[in-house]
């Protein structure tokens, strides 16, 4: 299973570090990463491979949300298909 992780908020030191630390601890591989400023928001998006994941999807989601709260940004993880189906025929 692949998932897209989106981080939206104010830019600051350590966002990528904090997110990739959580992913690495749970054996989630980052396949692609990009960041940009979009409509005044700092946005970072990651494509992650969850095939080796060591916890439940929901647990990872909760840890990421908690990490987001700690560093003051919004972190979401969603399965990739929702984006694929909406934007690709």
């Amino acid at each position: 299973m692949k998932a897209i992780i989106t981080v939206i908020g104010k830019d600051k030191v350590g966002i990528i570090y904090n997110v990739s630390k959580v992913l690495s601890e749970n054996s989630v591989n980052i396949e692609d990463i990009s960041q940009t400023i979009m409509q005044d928001y700092f946005t970072m998006m990651m494509l992650a491979d969850l095939s080796q994941i060591r916890c439940e999807f929901n647990e990872l989601k909760d840890i990421l949300e908690k990490t987001g709260d700690e560093i003051g940004v919004s972190i979401k993880i969603q399965r990739e298909e929702i984006f694929e189906s909406m934007h690709n025929i």
Partner: protein, 453 residues
């Protein structure tokens, strides 16, 4: 990255800021094999079958919501019309059927169960008459059961005897639930040309021609359409139509993905996807505001019917392009009490009952969630239903009436139903009597399908 950043951002924004959601996952369950001459046995079978098929519905919905990050607001069940199931039973205890549905709904954790219904578009069976007379009591003695009655169709015409009965049923339901602003009526829909696979309440039932069990999905997103239209201010109307169509396409794709996933996990076939712009009382989730965005000062101004026609049609076109499983009602709902923009249009005096009736000739359903004075005559309510059924039957579309004569309230008062059902100012209806018309009874013959003008 395989996807463009702006696409990812767009999807996230639709969900986070514009209230894109899966409004309902509705499991349709056939009860035909539960029919028994012993009412008691039939009801045990109904209960067992619902529990067996739907026990994981809510959990599966919640899991998918978590994984895809899209809210799934309601999980619901629709069943074969109970008038059909109960017709064979010896005790004719229809209320007991309603209670067993309510019990099963509570135990599997769905917030509504639809199908306490009768199909009498041409005529009644003896059992149908007893059943219809039980509806008001059933709605007052249960919490989650929804009821509907189909009183007309383009093939059969309009059953005026049924319409006469329904005026009284609605008044009775209003009285029996008077402590909660007559909320019983909010769970009762009177249809013409009812569809078999509608996932939206209160009018959902599992049609006779449907399979054993099916998962139907209702997607919504008035806020997404409104935001998309904010980007084309002042552009010609064809640009508006194109923009709505593209947005509907994207919303529908999401719904199809979720529907197929639910179906796979529950091992129940995927039925249809109903893309209906279903508003809620929340800010940013209103169909009325879309119409205003198209260029009307307030919903109800002249031009509203045209704007709604454009909206309804563009939604259908986008949806049908996006999925081969589009069904149900698909279009734009205009339930007054559930739509923040419409509530304020009524308060401002911009939106009247008569304008709403005109709008129903081009929207996806009909007169929906309209609160009227509690002392409205039953025959006046029947006449409102007859008008609405005529619009549907003549124009080959589904129409419906879900109207609440709020007991003890009058013009200037507001009725409050709570939650997604919202609140509504009491609207005025004609003071002139339709009693002699309704008291004739009989049937309006099926319309001619040629010489259309």
């Amino acid at each position: 990255m395989t996807l463009y950043n702006k696409n990812i951002f767009e999807t996230v924004r639709m969900i986070e800021k514009e209230n894109l959601d899966i409004r309902t996952i509705t499991m349709g369950i056939s009860l035909l094999d539960t029919i028994d001459s012993s009412g008691k046995k039939a009801r045990t079978r109904i209960y067992d079958k619902i529990m067996r098929l739907a026990k994981d519905l809510v959990k599966t919905g919640n899991d998918i919501e978590d994984e895809f990050g899209i809210p799934i607001i309601n999980k619901r069940i629709s069943v074969t019309p109970i008038s059909v199931i109960a017709a064979a039973s010896d005790d004719k205890d229809y209320i007991a059927y309603a209670q067993i549905l309510d019990k099963a709904a509570k135990e599997v954790g769905v917030n509504f169960i639809g199908g306490y219904s009768a199909l009498v578009q041409k005529d009644f069976t003896e059992s149908d008459i007893g059943f219809i007379n039980s509806i008001a009591q059933a709605l007052s003695e249960t919490e989650r059961v929804c009821s509907s009655v189909n009183v007309g169709s383009s093939k059969a015409g309009i059953n005026m005897d049924a319409i006469k009965m329904m005026g009284k049923v609605i008044k009775d339901a209003a009285y029996l639930t008077k402590d909660q602003d007559s909320i019983g009526c909010a769970k009762l829909v009177v249809f013409a040309n009812a569809v078999d696979d509608n996932p939206f309440m209160a009018g959902a039932f599992h049609g006779i021609g449907e399979g054993e069990a099916v998962v139907n999905v209702g997607v919504s997103g008035p806020g997404v359409v409104k935001s998309a239209l904010e980007k084309v201010k002042g552009e010609p109307i064809n640009v508006v139509a194109e923009n709505i169509k593209k947005t509907a396409f994207k919303i529908t794709r999401t719904g199809e993905l979720v529907g197929r996933e639910v179906s796979k996990r529950l091992n129940v076939p995927f039925g249809i996807l109903d893309l209906s712009l279903a508003p809620t009382p929340e800010i940013g989730d209103s169909v009325g505001r879309i119409l205003e965005e198209i260029g009307l000062e307030a919903c109800g101004a002249h031009g509203t019917t045209a704007a709604l026609a454009l909206l309804n049609d563009a939604v259908k076109k986008g949806g049908i392009m996006a999925s081969s499983s589009v069904g149900g009602l698909s279009g734009a709902f205009i339930p007054v009490s559930e739509d923040e923009g419409m509530i304020s249009a009524v308060k401002a005096g911009a939106l009247t009952f008569d304008k709403l009736e005109a709008m129903t000739s081009v929207c996806s359903v009909g007169l929906d969630m309209i609160a009227i004075p509690g002392n409205t005559e039953a025959t006046t309510i029947s006449a409102i239903i007859a008008d609405e059924a005529a619009i549907g039957v003549i124009n080959n579309k589904t129409t419906a009436v879900r109207i609440i004569p709020v007991y003890g309230k009058d013009l200037g008062d507001t009725a409050s139903f709570g939650g997604l059902l919202g609140y509504a100012p009491i609207m005025s209806v004609s003071k002139f009597s339709s009693a002699d018309f309704i008291n004739r009874g009989g049937r309006i013959p099926a319309p001619i399908h040629s010489f259309k003008n």
